[in-house]
């Protein structure tokens, strides 16, 4: 399985998924014109990766998105669903949700995820 690498653009975040290291990192903004098409291969990769993970594995997820549009938000529910499935089958998943200290919308979005996915270990971390 190949690692997944997307350079950051004005509308889309930098994406670095490393299969061997079991790290998943997403940073930047997310408002592509067609979020579903943009995230389709990313979701696909995550599904396959999570399917390959076993009970003793630890996966580190870092998400630091300043701004995401509504369709991106919908995609991230699906993203967290996949993580939750992995979590349910015993993979240890640590999620760090970063937000700029004055960005209350990003903070609340993190809180919403933490509430909706109560079994997932989501840590909210503010940055200056």
């Amino acid at each position: 399985m190949e690692n997944l690498l997307y350079a950051q653009t004005q509308h889309t975040p930098q994406i670095e998924f490393n299969e061997k290291e079991k790290t998943i990192s997403i940073t930047g903004n997310s408002y592509p014109e067609d979020s579903f098409s943009f995230y389709q291969p990313i979701i696909q990769w995550l599904k396959e990766f999570m399917g390959n993970c076993s009970q003793n594995d630890t996966v580190k997820v870092i998400i630091f998105i300043d701004y995401m549009n509504s369709s991106s938000l919908k995609v991230y529910f699906e993203f967290f669903d996949i993580l939750e499935e992995g979590n349910d089958k015993g993979v240890k998943i640590d999620i760090d949700w970063y937000y700029q200290i004055d960005n209350d919308i990003a903070e609340e979005t993190g809180e919403d995820f933490a509430l909706d996915f109560e079994t997932l270990n989501i840590k909210l971390i503010s940055r200056n």
Partner: protein
């Protein structure tokens, strides 16, 4: 959403999934509304800032334009007042300097100088006699011929005027200094203070000499009555290449109507 067995799903499970999805939808809508509100507020702020800025720039620009006008007006008044000090003391009228200024600009344009330079000459022209402030009244207003000694004193006004104004580096005052220094030079070299000849005399000096003499001859002075036009024109023809630059004399006669028009419009 997790994979579900569509055939064997219970009503409770379906309801649970429905509630969950509905919940997520609400989260998305709620957040979307919040973002829209934020955008609108930011947009409004930006618009206000923009409008404010336009208004401020408009006011500032208006102030600058007014200040500039004020400066230009002040400059004109100072120059005319300075020129008038000399003129008044020698009992010449205030319009003399203004007419000479207009003639000078016209001569400059016809001679081929550009508008900017011609305008500079017009503005500087009223200062050409500024050195007269150092000449005693008794000499300035003397009726009849000067003694040699008096004439030497009178002639000093060129040098004095030059020394007064040439200290400055402003183009306007530099120009005025040339006028003050050279407006009594003659094309044939018999003028003063330096006795320069032909094109050794700066074009500004040659122009002012012609303009000044033309106006002086047509006006009453303490030492003479005004000449009639024919006498003036004969003098100009006679002094073409003598007192005056021949090219300027030609220009003068070729455009005589325009010079007479200025004289008529600015009578004393």
């Amino acid at each position: 959403m997790r994979n579900i067995d569509k055939d064997n799903i219970t009503l409770e499970e379906l309801y649970r999934l429905y509630t969950k999805q509905n919940n997520r939808l609400n989260i998305i809508i709620k957040r979307s509304d919040k973002q829209e509100l934020k955008f609108r507020e930011l947009n409004q702020e930006l618009n206000e800032y923009k409008n404010n800025l336009e208004e401020k720039v408009k006011i500032a620009t208006k102030e600058i334009v007014e200040l500039n006008l004020e400066i230009e007006e002040t400059q004109r008044e100072v120059i005319f007042t300075m020129g008038a000090i000399g003129e008044n003391r020698s009992k010449e009228t205030g319009n003399h300097v203004k007419r000479v200024a207009e003639y000078s600009k016209l001569l400059a344009l016809f001679y081929g100088l550009d508008e900017e330079e011609a305008e500079l000459l017009r503005k500087a022209s009223p200062m050409h006699d500024i050195g007269k402030i150092a000449i005693p009244d008794a000499i300035l207003n003397k009726k009849g011929q000067f003694t040699d000694e008096e004439f030497e004193l009178m002639k000093a006004h060129s040098q004095i005027g030059y020394d007064m104004i040439n200290q400055s580096n402003r183009p306007l005052l530099k120009t005025a200094a040339i006028l003050a220094f050279q407006h009594h030079e003659r094309f044939d070299g018999d003028g003063y203070p330096q006795g320069l000849k032909g094109e050794e005399i700066h074009i500004y000096g040659r122009i002012t000499a012609l303009a000044d003499v033309f106006d002086a001859l047509g006006s009453d002075r303490c030492y003479k009555k005004a000449w009639n036009d024919n006498r003036i024109f004969d003098f100009f023809k006679q002094e073409k290449g003598g007192y005056f630059d021949p090219r300027l004399v030609d220009i003068f006669f070729e455009n005589l109507d325009k010079f007479l028009e200025i004289r008529d419009n600015m009578r004393d």
